[in-house]
């Protein structure tokens, strides 16, 4: 059930994102001409009424390309003839000259440096991923105890196990293409331990037998990856991000209690013994490590897309163990690969170019001679 929710969550958030970000303008005065191209001499497509709300399609210098949602007519109006509706964000063409934006969309504070090609201008990002973690390190716990007047030794191996999990990450752009943020990954796995070792024979001295068996154990790694992210827009639809930073791992791990293993099968003639039970405690410990990775995303719309992420994050967590008395070191983390929803938050000042509108069909010059029929 929980897994289903994890899958549904990004979908629900996607719907919310689409309905939130749409730019509109309001016509200031009546009879404002809607022109076929961004020129005072261009043909008038329609006469707009005062107060009419139009969808903003694109920005071209002093002209807005708009669409009348009622008549479905598209055309260009002078930016000065309309007001940008509150909450809307005008798209800024990458080719827009500095200071050429519409007066209503002018930022309260002018940017320290106007965006150039390759600049990332969104406010921030949000990822929601299903991830898969591999490369976790196995670890072992040893136990010795007195068994029928001799010493038994068991080595419990907690094997490395790749496991799925999920991630939610977000970042806020602080300078140029640099964002700071945090990601949370949660990976939970149930593993079957394997027990090996040597166990005395109950009725004979110095005739140890091989020990076998195993039992289940749980491991939950919850990590907060504090990450500095550098965004590299590759095209209007594609973006690469690289990130690194400290990772704080909290590991909840099944640990065998002192004298915790229980010999479950050892009956006459005592040829072999198995351990399938153990008294255990799920200990929780936190440690700081390091993580770094990269994300590639592809946007279907202006702000919503999908992405794939890889990360390597590692921290060494120490659990106190009393038999034998020593710290049991467990390496948390590993390689994480994930994929899921990508959402960008547009900046009020600068924005990535929107997905280009379909180019207006240019009138094709008539061929001098009709094409020959083949």
């Amino acid at each position: 059930m929980a897994r289903k929710l994890l899958v549904l969550l990004p979908v629900l958030l996607f719907v919310a994102a689409v309905t939130t970000f749409a730019a509109t303008v309001r016509v200031r005065v009546g009879n404002t001409p809607l022109r076929a191209s961004p020129s005072q001499s261009a043909a008038v497509v329609d006469q707009l009424k005062a107060g009419a709300v139009l969808d903003l399609v694109d920005v071209n210098r002093d002209w807005y390309k708009v669409r009348d949602p009622l008549t479905k007519k598209e055309g260009f109006v002078l930016a000065s003839a309309v007001d940008l509706e509150p909450g809307s964000a005008p798209a800024v063409s990458l080719t827009q000259k500095p200071g050429a934006g519409p007066a209503a969309a002018k930022p309260a504070r002018p940017p320290a440096r106007p965006p150039k090609k390759g600049d990332w201008t969104d406010r921030g990002y949000l990822w929601m991923d299903g991830i898969y973690q591999s490369g976790s390190s196995a670890f072992t716990q040893t136990q010795t105890w007195s068994y029928f007047a001799e010493t038994a030794t068991a080595t419990i191996e907690f094997p490395a196990k790749n496991a799925p999990g999920f991630e939610v990450s977000g970042g806020y752009r602080v300078w140029r293409n640099l964002a700071v943020g945090a990601g949370v990954t949660v990976v939970n796995r149930s593993t079957a331990t394997s027990v090996t070792g040597s166990i005395p024979n109950p009725i004979y001295v110095n005739r140890p037998r091989a020990l076998s068996g195993g039992f289940s154990s749980n491991n939950t790694e919850t990590a907060i990856h504090l990450q500095a992210t550098w965004a590299i827009p590759m095209s209007p639809k594609m973006m690469l991000m690289v990130f690194a930073g400290p990772s704080i791992f909290n590991v909840k791990q099944t640990i065998v209690d002192p004298q915790g293993v229980t010999v479950s099968t050892d009956a006459y003639p005592f040829d072999s013994a198995t351990i399938t039970l153990a008294n255990t405690t799920d200990l929780s410990k936190t440690a700081i490590g390091f993580g770094a990775g990269a994300d590639f995303s592809y946007y279907f719309t202006r702000f919503v897309g999908v992405g794939a992420m890889v990360r390597f994050a590692r921290a060494s967590v120490s659990f106190p163990v009393t038999n034998p008395t020593r710290a049991l070191s467990v390496d948390a983390g590993g390689f994480q690969a994930g994929g899921g929803l990508r959402i960008l938050f547009p900046s009020s000042k600068w924005a990535r170019p929107a997905t280009p509108a379909k180019p207006q069909p240019k009138p094709q010059p008539k061929p001098a001679t009709p094409p020959k029929k083949k």
Partner: protein, 567 residues
Amino acid sequence: MKRTSHLLAVVLALVVALGVLTVAQRPDQEGRGVARILAAGGQDLRDWDDRLVTMERTRDLRLRTTQVDTLVPGRSHERLDQYYKGVPVFGGEAVRETDGQITRSVTTSLYGGVDIDTDPTLSAADAARVFMRETRAEAGTTVSPQLMILPRPDGTYALTYRLSAFVEHGMPVVFVNAKTGAVELRYDNLKYQQATALVGNGVLVGEGLVASDQKKVSCTLQGSAYLAWDMLRPTTIKTYDLKGALSRTKDLFDGKIPLVQSDMATNTGATWTDAVVVDAHTYLGWTYDYFYARYGWQGLNGNNAHTVHVVVHPASRSDFANYSADDQSTFYTNAFYCGACGYSREDMMMIGEGLPTGWYSTGHGGQTVDYVAAALDVLAHEYSHGVTDYTSNLVYQNESGALNEAFSDIMSVGVEFYQQTPGSGLLQADYLEGEDAWRPYKTGALAGLRSLANPTAYGDPDHYSKRSTGTDDNGGVHTNSTIASHAFYLAIEGGTNRTSGLSVTGVGAANRDKIEKVFFRGFTTLTSNATFSLARAKTIQAARDLYGAGSAIETAITQAWNAVGVN
């Protein structure tokens, strides 16, 4: 019922006429005497199978036990007792080996020509009084008279009461004629380690205890003390410490007092300090393990139904000089198995206390005697008597008694080689019996009580022609045992019999388990009054069943019996 007896006589006569049997001891011309045969195939088997069915129908044979064959899957051995007019015939029985509904072999010791009145003149109480007078048993001794037909050596039969009880140094079995009150037969059913030995005093050369090696004592915690009560093995083994109180030991075996938990050996520390308890207790466990691993045989009766009780420290060494020679040679320099013994009819063993410093046994060139518990083979020997009691129940007299002893020696050697490394030192496996307790007192003296490899060195026969035929030692049950146990040795190790000069190609030490299995299967399916000849036939048949006719195992077994003069 007389008709039945005549029918049997006719049947036996027919058997003689058919003739083609693996082995046969024939009744006399009048049909009297025993038909001791092994029919393992052909028309003979079919005829005998039919006869057994006929006798069962007329209640002249009655099923007593069914013994599952642990070595050949699917096989069972049904043991049937012979009755005449509702009265059991002593030693009269048949063993039918079955494989599902098919009869594979028939072994018999059936008596023909029984024709006597079965109404006793004496009452059971009268017979008990005769027993008390005969054995000098004290009043209160538990006896259980049982009406029984006793075959006499001359081929005639007597209606008798069979009575038995532990008395002083033995377990006399007495057959009292139910018509006249005369004692027809008496023998001692206490299975000793050895015939009673003489003891003299002298100077003891210092010899340490063998128990310098560590062993695990399987015990049970009761309160703050551990009891020598083995619960790790499927059969319960309990070791009792009588703390040297000989009168109490005797009362225990006489049945005057019961076995109680307060007599069990105890220890409070982490290490069991009494090496005698350690050895007796663990060696019985080791013996159990051997039977389990080698034959799949669990406990005395094969299915763990009976607790093994062993008594140590039956007498005090410090009192040694105060006791009679009988007491000395029973409770100091001996060990015995007493089946269904004592107050509660338990299976009990006694392990002797050995000789005090300064004393030695005059046998075999002079021997010191350690605590007898030091000898693994002695514990295994006594335990094996229990196995015999619950299987072939070989009568502890004459040839069947010698086979009973031989089986115990053979099994005890098997246990040694299973649990110890071969060698001639202490705690090592060899073909001597009791060598870890009976040790040479001086140069030239021998270790142990008997040798399976060279019986004559200990005064025992290595050939049937040299068997003791007197009445001592129950008709030579110990001394004559080496005829069979030497055959066992030859079948494994090979060699030439010193008396016959016949050579045997042994199967080698690596195959000793096969010879052991052959003897186990052959001996545990014998009839109770079997002879050497029947033992030969049964072991050869076992070799065929287990390893195939004409196998090297069968050849070795056959050559070995030939070499010791048993045909």
